[in-house]
Structures are given as structure tokens and as C-alpha cells.
């Protein structure tokens, strides 16, 4: 009897996402679908605005990575304006981007994933939460909060606000960094490094506990896409597009940003508002579920595609990370996103240290001015959760006539579906919906740290509704969680 199981978070905006597990007639998992049922209407909302408004508008899409949207937008606007961004403005943009990586990755690892890692995925849900983690290790809990606060405070210092900083602008940025801010950042860096080192050591010491998770949480061959420096180094703000296959071969070594549509296309499925981007030269397949052009973006992909990090601590960890790959090939399990995130926090802290020690960081020439010199602009960033594309068309007066945003969560859509299918096949027995299964499927999604609901927040709890239907569509089991 074929059955469908729904795992559905219920939030203020109806159904940010739901998960349906489709069983075959033998009661085994056949397929799992991750549905995004909220339409993201920001593109339409932006058409008709003037292009210089876009960095300020698009940052309001998200409360966790507003800096990514602001900077991707500013980069697209830089192209439209056609002027050169002053060197110090570029450095300041990089500074707050690294600060954002610090706060965002800290939130993902310490606050959202660590309860599962440290307390156990099958442990009592009454204690397997952040409060349980705090009770188990209050000192680490305090350090984790201060690490996230450090990133937030840099953003606030530089831009004047911690969220929605209308600071980057076409051609540069609005405000300089001052000596007292440089001094404060320098003073707080040692504690930030220490916190990440503690987390790295804990994770490496405990990796052996997660052998089954490594093998079942998104361990499959795929392509990897992201930005690299012109020299092939790890890059978060600006660079060339690189595509690597599952064997480590470079399909695109360094593609110019404006050529991105040559390699990425988007498929549409009737059951989700989120599109399904794929690597165009390899295609979407014939609809039987196997997608040759499936790729991953984000921390795992970035560490796979780069030749080196370019900073001492991150390079040391990157060498260790690469040992997780089989036979010298790319690291394939999405479970390793956790380690990759910690390495990227180290990388960001090292880059922050370099930037605040740069003698030109407090220069005050921060902006170039111009009008509409190009009618098309694309800005590509590495957001913490993956590659982010902003693409704008304007008329001669600078009014936006077309806006397209391809966000990291969209880029990972195919991979997220494949990951939770693998998890359900490994851990689901019959039609039993256990807390452990729910935790594991949820953890599988969280590995990609998707931005699903942060365009609004939710009041109170987010219960999970789980429903089982038989082949005739009759409800045979229901569970409400939370």
C-alpha cells in the first residue's frame, strides 16, 4: 500500500516548507520531496524602483544574511553605474562580509546544529535543544553567543546597524572605519579564534561517533559550484565562477560573472515554488529523478573547488578537511558542512585580522559616482549558505525593468531533496514516524542552512505536523510535534 508522509512546519506564513515521504507498495521509502510553498515575490516588488535603491531594499529580504544581499546588489549596481569602487570601500565590503560569515556560521553550528551533535539525534526532544546544550556546557554556550555577537557588532560598527544597514551603495560605501572601531575589533579577535578552535577540536575528537551520519546525510557524487580568486583561492566576495565535478575535474576553471547564464538553468516542478537550478551543459535529465547537472553550493562546495584558502589556520584545517574525501576526490558528504563552516569562520577571522591591520582601512575615499552607463548588471556573492546571484535590467533613467535573484537555498534545492531521501531510506522503517527520524530529516535540511523563513519570523513555537496517507489518500497516521 503506497503511502505519503508529511512533515510540515506550521508557521506564520503558511507552510514555509513541508516534507513528504513517499513509500512504495512494499512500504519502503521511494522518494522524498522538500516543498517550498511560499512564493518569494521580491523580484516583482522591486521592478519599477530605481537601481540605487536596491542594496537597501534587498537586504530586507533576510535577517541573517542581509549583508550578502546588500553586497550582491551593490555589485550589480556597480556594473550598471560603470564606475570603479575605491580600494578601501572594497576592503570594507569584505570586512563586513567576513563579519557576516562569523555570525551566520556561528548561528548554524552552535545554536541550530550543536544540540543534535552534542546531545544526540535520538535523544529526548525535551532536552535535545539549545537549553539542554547550555545546561550541558554553559561556558561553550556563552562563548558561542559572544562569537555571534562579535560578527554582529562589526557589522553594526561599520554600518551603523546590525540588520538592514543601508551602507553599501553603487560605487562604494557610505561610512569609513575609525580608529576606536579598529581597536575594538583587534581586542576581541583572540577570544573569537579561541571559541572556533574549541569547536573544531570538539568536532574532530567526536567524528567517529558520526560515521553512519557521514555515510547517509547527503553522501553522493555531485558537481560543486562557487567563486574562487583568479589564483584559485577561497573567495567569499568577488571572484570567478568555478565548477568541479565529483571526481575533482574542473568543468569551468574561472568563468566571468556575466557569463553565468551559460552554465546555470532553472527547472520548475509543480510541487514547489522554489526552482531547481542545474548545471546547464549536463542538463536536468529525463524527469526520472536523476539530474546529471545537480550541483551543491556553500561551505562544502567552496572548500572542494578552491586550490587553497590563503590564510594559515584555514589552510591547515583545509588540508585536514581534504582527507575526508575518498581517493583524493572531493569531499562528498553534506554532513561535513559542519566542519567546513568552522573552517570558514577561521578563514573569516583571519581575513578580518588582516583587514583591520591594513594601514589603508581607515581611508575616507569610499565612493565613486555616476549615472546609468550599462543597462544590465549582475552581482555574484558567496553568501554563507552558498552562491547568490543578483541580476538587474534597467532603462536609460535607471528604473528597474527586470530583477532576478537566484539565492543559495535555490541552488541547493536538488541536493537538499537528494539528502533527505537518503536519510529517510537509511532511518525509516515501515510507516513509523519517530522523533529520531524527524530530527534526522530536519538536520539533513539544516546542513544546507537554508533561508526559508527568515524573510519573516514566527510567533512562538513552530510545531511539525506529520501525516501518513495511504494510496487512496486516506489519513492513516498523524503526529504533531512541538
Amino acid at each position: 500500500m503506497a503511502q505519503t508522509i508529511h512533515i510540515e512546519p506550521v508557521t506564520r506564513i503558511e507552510g514555509h516548507a513541508k516534507i513528504t515521504v513517499h513509500l512504495d507498495d512494499a512500504g519502503q521509502v521511494d522518494d522524498v520531496k522538500f516543498h517550498v510553498v511560499e512564493f518569494r515575490g521580491f523580484e516583482k516588488f522591486c521592478v519599477g524602483r530605481t537601481f540605487p535603491e536596491m542594496p537597501g531594499i534587498t537586504m530586507r529580504i533576510c535577517g541573517i544574511c542581509p549583508v550578502s544581499h546588500m553586497l550582491a546588489s551593490a555589485k550589480a549596481c556597480d556594473v550598471i553605474q560603470g564606475t570603479k569602487v575605491p580600494a578601501t570601500a572594497q576592503k570594507l565590503r569584505r570586512l563586513i562580509n567576513h563579519a557576516q560569515y562569523t555570525q551566520s556560521h556561528a548561528l548554524s553550528f552552535f545554536h541550530l546544529s550543536a544540540p543534535d551533535l552534542m546531545l544526540g539525534m535520538e535523544s529526548d526532544p525535551a532536552t535535545r535543544n539549545v537549553v539542554g546544550l547550555i545546561l550541558a556546557n554553559p561556558d561553550l554556550g556563552r562563548k558561542a553567543i559572544r562569537l555571534r555577537q562579535f560578527g554582529q557588532d562589526i557589522i553594526r560598527m561599520v554600518t551603523g546597524k546590525s540588520v538592514h544597514p543601508a551602507w553599501a551603495t553603487p560605487g562604494g560605501v557610505r561610512e569609513p572605519l575609525v580608529q576606536s572601531q579598529v581597536d575594538e575589533i583587534k581586542a576581541r579577535l583572540p577570544e573569537a579564534f579561541e571559541t572556533v578552535e574549541i569547536a573544531v577540536n570538539w568536532l574532530l575528537d567526536n567524528y567517529s561517533k558520526f560515521e553512519r551520519e557521514v555515510a547517509t546525510y547527503g553522501d553522493f557524487p555531485s558537481l560543486y559550484i562557487g567563486l574562487v580568486t583568479p589564483e584559485g583561492g577561497l573567495e567569499h566576495y568577488d571572484g570567478l565562477l568555478r565548477v568541479m565535478d565529483a571526481d575533482g575535474r574542473l568543468l569551468e576553471k574561472g568563468l566571468a560573472n556575466e557569463r553565468w547564464r551559460e552554465i546555470i538553468d532553472e527547472a520548475v516542478e509543480p510541487w514547489s515554488y522554489l526552482k531547481f537550478p542545474y548545471y546547464k551543459p549536463l542538463g536536468y535529465g529525463n524527469g526520472n529523478g536523476s539530474v546529471p547537472g545537480l550541483y551543491r553550493v556553500g561551505p562544502l562546495a567552496r572548500l572542494n573547488i578552491c586550490d587553497f584558502a590563503g590564510t594559515p589556520r584555514a589552510d591547515r584545517e583545509l588540508r585536514n578537511f581534504r582527507r575526508l574525501g575518498k581517493e583524493g576526490k572531493p569531499v562528498t558528504s553534506s554532513f561535513h558542512h559542519h566542519y567546513a563552516r568552522l573552517i570558514e569562520i577561521l578563514f573569516s577571522l583571519e581575513r578580518i585580522e588582516e583587514l583591520v591591520n591594513d594601514p589603508t582601512i581607515m581611508d575616507t575615499h569610499l565612493r565613486s559616482y555616476g549615472g546609468v552607463n550599462e543597462l544590465y548588471g549582475v552581482g555574484i556573492m558567496e553568501a554563507p549558505r552558498g552562491t547568490l546571484f543578483h541580476e538587474y535590467q534597467v532603462d536609460e533613467t535607471g528604473i528597474l525593468t527586470g530583477v532576478n535573484l537566484l539565492v543559495a537555498t535555490g541552488n541547493n534545492n536538488l541536493a537538499m531533496n537528494k539528502t533527505i531521501t537518503q536519510i529517510a531510506k537509511a532511518y525509516m522503517s515501515g510507516n513509523k514516524i519517530t522523533e529520531g527520524l524527524c530530527n534526522r530529516v530536519e538536520h539533513g535540511i539544516r546542513l544546507y542552512d537554508p533561508c526559508l523563513s527568515c524573510s519573516t519570523h514566527a510567533v512562538g513555537q513552530m510545531p511539525m505536523q506529520i501525516q501518513v496517507f495511504d494510496a487512496r489518500g486516506a489519513l492513516v497516521e498523524e503526529k504533531l510535534r512541538g
Binding site: 548561528l107 535540511i445 510567533v459 512541538g482
Partner: protein, 157 residues
């Protein structure tokens, strides 16, 4: 000091009503001669616990939008005491106000009295501006405060 933490997304219509209500409440509290600090946020994240746990914070008022569904009569502002607690897990990045209070209590041994003030919302589409229900509810703030003791929120209303 009265700490007001207002949160929401001003590009999702009524979701931003809490931000407006936070500003109105700040002005009203100052009018009562109270020392007030307003933090306007997109959403609640763990580091907000550090703000709550500051020594100078005497009381915390979280200001948010709630979904006005199945409410009898005209949806209105709602004010209720808030206790610490742990919300259910989610796929998002945000925390609830009760969880923030739990963080402050467990990590910093600080648990100032806390309130949750909510404005009803019915329209969470993309865009700016508020629904009529949210707009009308906001106008009732003076009446709500008038029902409370003059010393609220420093003592129970």
C-alpha cells in the same frame, strides 16, 4: 531601564507592525518619564540574550505581530507576561521571546520581568504598509496603557 525589543520585517506588510508599535511604545514610555531603550530587529537571535542580561535592564517588553486568525470581535493589541521557555525546533533561524529569556536566565543568571505585546496582523504579503486591522489596533495603544497602573511596566499592570 525599560528595554523594548521590537521585531519584524517591514517589507512583509503587517509583519512590520511590531516595529511601528515599538516606536510608539518607546515614545509613550518616555512620556511617563521612564528611561527607555528601543532595539528594532528583523528577528530574534541568540545574542539578544546579552542585551536582555545587561545590568541596567529592569524590565523587557518584546513587541511583535501575531497572526490574527479565529479571534472573536475586533482584533486588538494583546499584552501578557512572558516567562522563559524553549520553543520547538524549526527549520528557520529565529528564536522566540521565551527562548531569549531562557538564554538570559541560564547563561547569565538574569531574568528581568518580561512582557509580550502583540499587534494583530492579517496581511503578510510582500510590500510596505499595514492592513486596516493592524492600523486600527495600533491606535489603541494609549487606551491600553491607560488601563495599566502608572508604574507599568516596572510593576504589574
Amino acid at each position: 531601564m525599560v528595554l523594548i525589543i521590537a521585531y519584524g520585517n517591514s517589507l512583509r506588510r503587517d509583519d512590520g507592525a511590531g516595529l511601528i508599535l515599538g516606536e510608539m511604545l518607546e515614545e509613550a514610555m518616555r512620556g511617563r518619564g521612564l528611561e527607555v531603550e528601543l532595539h528594532s530587529l528583523h528577528q530574534l537571535t541568540p545574542d539578544v540574550a546579552l542585551t536582555v542580561a545587561a545590568d541596567e535592564v529592569a524590565v523587557v517588553i518584546f513587541v511583535d505581530t501575531r497572526v490574527a486568525v479565529l479571534e472573536q470581535g475586533q482584533p486588538a493589541l494583546q499584552l501578557a507576561p512572558l516567562t522563559s521557555g524553549q520553543g520547538a525546533s524549526s527549520l528557520g533561524h529565529q528564536l522566540g521571546a521565551a527562548t531569549i529569556m531562557a538564554y538570559a536566565s541560564l547563561l547569565y543568571q538574569k531574568c528581568p520581568p518580561a512582557w509580550l505585546l502583540t499587534v494583530p496582523g492579517v496581511d503578510f504579503d510582500h510590500g510596505e504598509g499595514l492592513s486596516e486591522i493592524a492600523r486600527e489596533a495600533l491606535q489603541t495603544l494609549p487606551a491600553l496603557l491607560a488601563e495599566l497602573t502608572p508604574k507599568w511596566p516596572l510593576s504589574n499592570g
